[in-house]
Symmetry: D2
Subunit: 360 residues, 4 copies
């Protein structure tokens, strides 16, 4: 029950990092949506390893195949199955992981929960699992494009370790973000971030940071009170991304800084529409979108895989040391950006379809 997400536009992901492959089944995609292998592949290419010198050099083509649910480039209304084959990576680099728990990885917890785990490369807990999310997110994006062509979702790296980018969410431009390897909204800051990441990698260490995401021109009315508030389902989606440790919306963790008289967003009429003069609410009030930009932040911890010797234990209960091998991301944030966008698309697409049933 754990690998399902969404209520109407509902996805089921599957796959381990070193099994036959990874993929997703999308149930509930409306008929008539343009779905092309190329559009899905383009999103997967954004999260692919090996795209720059600051991400893992592992070479994975991650070529997606559409197995069902699409005919002549349009969805049929039936389940869309998408699959990416794994190359065979199972190598001696992972042998030590079979019995030794990598610190701050899922190894120990999977063993404790299930009594066993696919130990090579993190198995189900590997970041490869996000391939299914990104592929499904591309289909959700096609639904959104068809139904809300004006809606725009942009995520970017707002912070790496102690280096922050100060561009306001409203000023972030997609081409700027995609124009640098960090996916930062400011090219100059991106260079400093990239340097920090290279430095960390050279030290066998890793860095975390913050990914921000803004949703522009979201229709008014999305989000379902009371448990499936828009911010609650977004939080669920984002906090399910590996390494994400925090989520906030609008004023978020800065909200306590304000008094109510400073924090409330006064309503006004602009171009004949109800708008707010400020946007501390972050585009959501009472769990429902109000038409303003939906601004989120996600805190990511530094990658747990290090090329440094660490203290740990093995599955026989012995204290041992472990030194990471293989090739890994010293900083997951550049590749997390398309995953964050995919999750945002999945949430919005589901709420947009739910919305069709909220009034007579």
């Amino acid at each position: 029950m754990s690998s399902n997400f969404g209520h109407i536009f509902r996805i089921s992901t599957w796959g381990e990092s070193h099994g036959a492959g990874v993929g997703v089944v999308i149930d509930g995609c409306p008929a008539g949506v343009p779905v092309s292998r190329e559009a899905i592949q383009a999103e997967l290419d954004r999260r692919r390893p090996g795209q720059s010198d600051i991400v893992t050099p592992r070479s994975e083509e991650d070529r997606v195949e559409i197995l069902s649910g699409v005919l002549d480039g349009l969805s049929l209304g039936t389940p869309i199955a998408l699959s990416v084959r794994n190359k065979d990576h199972r190598s001696s680099a992972y042998d030590e992981m079979q019995h030794t728990y990598r610190p701050s990885h899922a190894d120990y917890c999977y063993d404790a929960k299930y009594g066993r785990r696919a130990w090579a490369g993190g198995g189900r807990a590997s970041a490869r699992e996000t391939i299914g999310r990104v592929a499904a997110g591309a289909v959700a994006g096609a639904v959104l494009s068809a139904l809300c062509p004006e809606l725009e979702i942009i995520a970017w790296v707002q912070r790496v370790h102690r280096i922050s980018c100060g561009v306001a969410p409203a000023d972030v431009k997609r081409d700027v973000v995609e124009g640098n390897i960090v996916r930062c909204a400011d090219p100059a800051v991106a260079e400093r971030m990239a340097a920090a990441i290279r430095e960390a990698r050279a030290a066998g260490d890793s860095l975390g940071g913050i990914v921000a995401c803004t949703i522009r021109r979201c229709p008014v009315g999305l989000g379902d009170p009371v448990f499936d508030k828009l911010e609650a389902t977004l939080a669920h989606a984002m906090m399910s991304i590996p390494a994400c440790k925090g989520f906030d919306l609008g004023s978020g963790f800065d909200a306590p800084d304000y008094r109510g008289s400073e924090h409330n967003d006064p309503y006004c009429i602009k171009d004949g529409r109800v708008r707010t003069l400020t946007n501390r609410s972050g585009g959501v009030q009472g769990g429902i979108s109000n038409g303003e930009d939906i601004n989120m932040r996600l805190a990511f911890k530094p990658t747990a895989t290090l090329m440094i010797e660490q203290r740990t234990v093995n599955d026989r209960g012995e204290e041992v040391t472990l030194r990471g091998k293989g090739r890994h991301d010293p900083c997951v944030l550049p590749r997390a950006v398309p995953v964050v966008e995919a999750m945002a698309r999945l949430v919005l697409c589901d709420h947009l379809l739910r919305q069709r049933c909220c009034r007579l």
Copy 2:
């Protein structure tokens, strides 16, 4: 579909602030759980208005009735329906709200979504909706007590506006928290917080803050990869609480401050069990509890209801001003504490039951 929460231990809440009442139906509670009206009432009393001079003086008894699912003090395995009648509060204090949208409230968004709303007192978006959560949380607490008697959940007010309490989560004591009207972990800080709240109320203003929550002695293995990670379902639960703007776990939004070598929690063996030397993971790794304390923080915005004149619009699209009337909480945090604990109990109870199915 929006007023359901949980997968096996599943609740459905209902009720508007000025309708006949509010309540909850719990489906999936195992048979044989001790359920008493008194235990549920005790939790409701913790969130009741009028309990101190820093919360709303509105007088509501909030007396719960058990309508089904319990016989001779034990659950039957069938749905448990709990109900609290509303007193009739519909007064002229709310008349203005029928057509005027209160800033940073849900009024406008409900109208935009549904075409209509229960305007008196916030209707479904009122904090009275949390009564159903707290009542159901008390039942979830009874399940947890029966199955994991050692497990402990404590929430407390960690910050009000700019006043913070520095007690470490591991040192927080329930009797201290419940011993002051703010529900702060430090009585001295609580007094300063209370003074700030009184000052804000006198000014017709309001304050936000941070509620922290710790879960001690949680069994290892709770939480379901990949979408229903423990932190993702906790985030969903917490971000669905009215006025909550952010959620983090463990190092949370401080995670980017660390390098990986500083952030990873080394494993060790303590008392024959696998433990971690530090707990930046916040008790969860790979979405699954690892047996360490689960530490969370929730950011709350200042109450939107102000006794100050504010700029806004009405449902005819006119710009108007509005001045709050009636009696409201200048700071929701003291009364949010039992709600946060209730949501934590609901999430853990559901995961604990799910857990029974994860192995042969």
Copy 3:
């Protein structure tokens, strides 16, 4: 998880026969639907005990209260809670049931499953549980009336014991059905059925039969392949009604009598619409409504409660005899008719809302 039904228009029923009451929470009802206490009460009155001399003389007013989700006669889009209080019937008539299992009742199985049960009057397994279904069905009916005013659902008693009514589904008239106490489509047959029921009651015995149901002018396209085919969700709904032992659709259990060349329904064009010349499909093809009448049959076993001494066992594993006491229906079918219609409405309403999401 077991007391929920529906995916978008979703109900949760609660209540035992001798607890405080019974009721239902409806989540997912669109806003703007006319919902009146009187319309719901009218449906409940059709299933109420004591309405004629062939049903149980137990006197229950079964007065429904709308607790939430409705303002000024229209649904709000938020959960609609409906409740009916039980009178206090717990009497010595039931004392024997506390430890003795009534044959072909749920007593033993509830004990075996849950370790305990609400023994008075059948508890959760009592037919009083259907009150929540009928109340929710009335709301579903209001949605259908608003969205498909031409749609008509009629159930009737087609057979009691060995007495059958030969009126073809297309010829059944609601006023005729409601014009006799058996709810048979033929008044003359109804009298013979009533006589048989009276005879059985006099003998302390009971009778079963068949309830038929037809849905006229159903929109084309309802039903979701592959697991939620229209006939599969209808079967689920109907087989969940107490005492229902069988369900079929269209040719149903007579289908094997035909060869394919006799059974297929040829398509034709009538009044510019695609129609079928015959309707052995029963209005559903490939799990989706085709616009023809949806014809169903439900087989009901004779009431398990008898006023005759029966062989059984008690909860101490002793073989004993039991003689029914109290007042019961010698034949459930007349009162099952509104329950069958309610379940049909719930299924159609849910599929009608799902339908809004099946195309771009």
Copy 4:
């Protein structure tokens, strides 16, 4: 939302008859279950075309691949993805189907619902869709074997057209059923059935019938009141199988023949266990298994595909005639047997896991 089935042991099927393939993702399978490709393949081979001269001669190897969720022959607790590639069958045999609606097939309804359809070979409505069910059913069977090794599920062809097999459910033997190409419980009757099927095929016609299914030694207590009664979920499962028009349990549609005094199953004590002297309840009382054999019947209509000219319409609203081409089953029942067993396994496996949560 329509291609999901089950609550804890939950499957999502995908695939069209002439797309890349068909398959299923199983979420919620406990860890530690022996899952082998061979065991799954063995079940698929039972439903494969071309296995005898009375089923379609179409040659499909239907070779299953395990893509995830299994390591070293045991389930991991993570989703199990199973896939079968289609051979390329898209041929001119189907060209006519692109615009002409085959009578009593799903073609017209899919077009009406979705605005388009995968027309070749029936697309999603093809019987190939059941491959995912059978594959998932094999995994469910492995769970059942591990948890309830004594449980046995046998389905068989009880009737073809007007030829019935009189073997009582309790006397049916699996090896006898599997020992003849019809899968009838009586070899002599099987020969007559096979002759009738051959005769129908020679005439370009088709036959329906009844598949019966018995579940022996089912644990007491499975099934969840009130909507997910065991018979209700079984009915849902079975009525979702293509061509199934009716379902009953125990006395089923014969129940009305009895008076209550004849129909009730008296309890007795046998071998220290509560048993019933008769089994008209069909192993289920109050929606919960009572430990007696669970006996079901499914009515199947004759195959809709005929090699005879039929009257129909096309998608331009013209009345035309159509003559089936290609190779099809003149009688689906022999190949439906493994599908019925698979659905029974899926339902029982899900209820068995749910059962773990019903008591403290």
